[in-house]
Amino acid sequence: MASALINVPATARRGDIIEIKTLMSHIMETGFRHTVTGEVIPRNIITNFTCRYNGDEVFRADLFPAFSANPFISFFTVATESGKFEFQWIGDNGFQETASASITVT
């Protein structure tokens, strides 16, 4: 049951610098912790995040065990044309989630 919160401005003027905020639900288990009986809790993290703007990659990040649970990633880009932002999170154990948001550029 993974859910994402995306904040992309609905409208912008051409050339505006816009902030994009993303929040993905994930436990981000580091792989360094042990259970009470001493067994290692296997690593389970998101390893990669990408954002595409009308197909072009505008942001990419690699994630590591030190990231908090439910990683919040915010970044900036330039609004060039109306269209769609597509977000993708890839992680351990075949984790793969996508989300998208539209923007109207005037």
């Binding site: 049951m1 859910s3 995306i6 904040n7 929040l23 639900s25 981000m28 908090s68 439910n70 915010s74």
Partner: protein, 259 residues
């Protein structure tokens, strides 16, 4: 000898009197939400619905609200849209006629599951239970807390207040020693807050997840090295009830973020 005893008696009385004064509750005008003790950044995180990680729990709750069990009805089949829950969470813990005692929101959700959905109760602090209480709590965000308006609750509020004032644990501290007497100070770098539970379930950054008021109370009890109450202990609900009634009139922030 007799004179000496008189002096020591009056000294004892003076000590008892001072500790009574110290245990005074916070004046209504001086009440503050735990949010006001947080950094500006954490406050901003709480106030932005797309940056508040507690909202992920609310999203999960929305999915659970409409999910149909194999047999029986979904929450939405009886209650309709989750927005019908507006004003509900700010009344909890509330008096239950059948049980003849107060129940908190977690217990209410589980009673509903058992009585009306023929489902097993959700485990204490489980992801699903926190998601549902976050969803229900979110509907009342910004509304004033009303808990304790029901006169049948008064006896239970008094019991909760007694527990709040009672010294406990190896450190021999009562809740009031920190949260009434020393809320303007810090403990190991962290703000001692006024113990107004305005935003539960909260997303606590230290926990990296949502947690209920009961989890927070267990935290505090372990902190003073006392034996925490079990999850469904009536004492726990009484304490929750007293704390919520203490925050009566303050705005609900669910799902709040805390450091």
């Amino acid at each position: 000898m007799r004179r000496l005893r008189n002096i020591s008696l009056s000294l004892l009385a003076a000590v008892a009197f001072t500790s009574l004064i110290e245990a005074a509750e916070i004046a209504p005008g001086e009440r503050r939400s735990g949010a006001s003790f947080m950094s500006v950044e954490t406050q901003a995180m709480q106030n932005d619905a797309t940056a508040n990680p507690g909202m992920l729990g609310v999203l999960d709750g929305e999915a659970l609200w409409t999910r149909k069990p194999v047999a029986g009805r979904a929450c939405a089949d009886c209650h309709g849209d989750a927005s019908s829950m507006r004003g509900v969470a700010v009344r909890y813990p509330a008096f239950d006629d059948k049980l003849n005692r107060p129940v908190d929101l977690e217990q209410r959700v589980n009673l509903c599951r058992v009585d009306h959905q023929q489902l097993p109760p959700l485990a204490d602090e489980s992801r699903d239970l926190l998601a549902l209480t976050a969803l229900i709590g979110r509907q009342s965000q910004g509304m004033p807390i009303e808990t304790g308006a029901d006169s049948r609750l008064q006896a239970f509020i008094d019991k909760g207040r007694d527990a709040f004032m009672r010294r406990q644990g190896q450190l021999n501290l009562a809740c009031t020693n920190c949260h009434d007497d020393n809320w303007d100070k810090r403990l190991a770098g962290s703000a001692i807050t006024q113990a107004h539970p305005t935003g539960y379930p909260v997303y606590r950054l230290e926990w990296q997840g949502l947690g209920s008021l009961k989890r927070r109370l267990r935290n505090c009890m372990i902190g003073v090295r006392a034996q925490p109450y079990s999850a469904d202990a009536p004492e726990m609900v009484e304490l929750e009830l007293y704390l919520m009634s203490r925050a009566r009139g303050m705005a609900s922030e669910t799902p709040a973020v805390r450091p």
